[in-house]
């Protein structure tokens, strides 16, 4: 078991080295970024402890996948498997629990810790025998796959919008929109096998345009329940709500282009940083979008002619 954690540490170190990042500086930067965001959330959002706890627990979702659980269960004895799951969940929720503790939110600390242990007991090695229906069936595949994989997280976004109405806090609703679109951006982090691009009888430019159009339409659908709900209850702030939806859709389009600009590699950390900077300073998109589009076109030219 000790060797397993040694291996995990090595994997992280190798990932950072591949991205040409200094492990020490990266860890410091991530810690500072995490603390900054946490502080901002607690300062500006009234239901921050609740949202923060949900974020903490949703960060664990990647650790409980069927493949991973089967691998661990098949490799280790049952008690060791449980211990590994508890430790891994613990490592992930520890920073969140620490920050909640710093803010004297003892009930939430207890809730997060207990829930993370309970989640480590859930195997999720079941096979889903029915497909979750999606409104995106005619246009594969990012939104269909992403929607099914992230349905609980997407419901969280909707839940935040409802919560904002219940507690009459508009900021939570906007945060819900941001969470929803952030989840959608993640749909584009996976690079499909080259075969699934090659099969399209299209030129690179029309393929990318098609993808952008699909992304925009689906992005609109996915944000619609939240924006409609918020617009109904906060009609005086409808422009503000629409602006966030518009921004969310724009970033979906940017993610699409960025994905194919580096395809078949997945978007790496440096490119991710570039996208994050553009989120903090949206006018940068005027330069970024044409640059990424041209790069994508060139990048796909050997697969689509």
């Amino acid at each position: 078991m000790y060797y397993y954690f040694q291996i995990q540490f090595k994997r992280l170190y190798r990932l950072l080295k591949e991205e040409k990042l200094n492990p020490v500086y990266t860890i410091i930067a991530v810690a500072v970024f995490f603390l900054g965001l946490s502080q901002a959330l607690f300062e500006y959002v009234s239901q921050a402890p609740l949202i923060y706890s949900v974020l903490a627990l949703s960060s664990l979702s990647g650790l409980g996948t069927t493949d991973r659980n089967e691998f661990l269960k098949n490799t280790f004895t049952n008690p060791e498997f449980r211990i590994i799951r508890i430790i891994e969940n613990g490592i992930l929720v520890l920073p969140f629990a620490g920050f909640l503790l710093y803010n004297l939110e003892y009930v939430y600390v207890l809730g997060v810790v207990v829930a993370s242990v309970v989640m480590s007991m859930s195997d999720r090695t079941y096979s889903v025998v029915w497909a979750i229906p999606t409104p995106f069936y005619k246009k594969p595949f990012e939104f269909i796959v992403g929607f099914r994989k992230s349905i609980l997280a997407l419901l969280l976004g909707l839940g935040l919008a409802i919560l904002s109405i219940v507690v009459d806090n508009f900021n939570i609703g906007i945060f819900g929109i941001l969470v929803t679109y952030f989840i959608c951006l993640n749909f584009y982090s996976y690079s499909e096998p080259e075969f699934f691009v090659w099969i399209h009888a299209e030129k690179p430019a029309s393929f990318i345009w098609g993808k952008i159009k699909t992304g925009l339409v689906h992005g609109f659908y996915i944000g619609l329940p939240l924006t409609a709900l918020l617009a109904f209850f906060y009609f005086d702030k409808v422009y503000f709500i629409l602006m966030f939806q518009f921004l969310g859709m724009i970033y979906i389009a940017v993610s699409t282009i960025a994905k194919y600009a580096y395809y078949p590699s997945e978007i790496n950390t440096t490119q991710m940083v570039m996208l994050i900077i553009s989120m903090l300073f949206p006018p940068l998109l005027i330069v970024l979008i044409p640059y990424l589009f041209s790069k994508s076109k060139h990048n796909l030219s050997h697969l689509l002619t």
């Binding site: 078991m1 060797y3 397993y4 291996i7 090595k10 994997r11 190798r14 990932l15 591949e18 493949d67 991973r68 089967e70 691998f71 269960k73 098949n74 490799t75 280790f76 004895t77 049952n78 060791e80 090695t125 079941y126 096979s127 889903v128 025998v129 029915w130």
Partner: protein, 226 residues
């Protein structure tokens, strides 16, 4: 000896395995055949303790899972982990000595390369090497010949024969009937989650005939190929 008694498995309303009863003896090679989706992998997962089930699986000597090596159809490899590290991890997890691993690299795999970058066949060979080094008593091999080159195929056949000599329990699935015919002592035909026929060596022909009957030839016209 492993005794499976009235084993059933459901996913919601979908009953994948229905009242399966089988015995697997040490020193015997047991084949499981069936169409895709018949329930072979689910049965294997139940045996390996990866799935919950109704019914009983009895094994006298020890905790079944701790002495079982399960070769998946597509073995899961952690990213950024070399073949050598994978083998060490698998040995370490079973508290098995990890000396001279290089000597046991019978498939000549490039152990210093990342295992997730291996081809399908190489991943399978690495995973098989791991469960062999672990010194298991029971070997569950889910389509061990799938995606593997001819030379390695022959080597896997040899390994399976050796396991038989060593009185290990071997349970495997394959779609290559000729191979099963060559090595298996017993063959079980799984259809729609039930054992349709079980046969001893020399009687496998009846299973092959039954399987051929459920072909898809008549449906080709539906494709309207031109």
């Amino acid at each position: 000896m492993i005794r499976i008694k009235s084993l059933s498995k459901s996913y919601g309303d979908n009953k994948v395995l229905k009242e399966i009863s089988l015995n697997f003896k040490p020193g015997e090679i047991n084949g499981i055949v069936g169409e895709n989706g018949a329930g072979k992998t689910t049965l294997f997962k139940c045996l390996a303790g990866l799935e919950t089930y109704e019914g009983k699986i009895e094994y006298a000597a020890a905790n079944l899972k701790d002495v079982t090596g399960f070769l998946f159809t597509n073995p899961h490899m952690l990213s950024r982990v070399t073949g050598m590290e994978y083998l060490r991890l698998m040995c370490n997890a079973r508290h098995v000595g990890i000396d001279n691993i290089e000597e046991k690299n019978v498939f000549d795999l490039p152990l210093n390369r990342y295992a997730d970058a291996y081809s399908t066949g190489m991943k399978k060979k690495l995973a098989l090497t791991a469960i062999l080094i672990q010194g298991n008593e029971i070997f569950i091999l889910d389509e061990p010949f799938n995606g593997v080159d001819i030379h390695s195929n022959a080597l896997i056949l040899e390994v399976i024969q050796k396991l038989k000599e060593l009185k290990k329990v071997v349970i495997l699935s394959s779609h290559i009937f000729s191979t099963l015919d060559q090595i298996c002592d017993t063959l079980h035909y799984l259809k729609d989650g039930k054992i349709e026929v079980s046969a001893l060596k020399g009687e496998f022909e009846q299973i092959e005939k039954k399987m051929r009957k459920s072909g898809i030839g008549s449906k080709v016209e539906q494709l309207n190929l031109s």
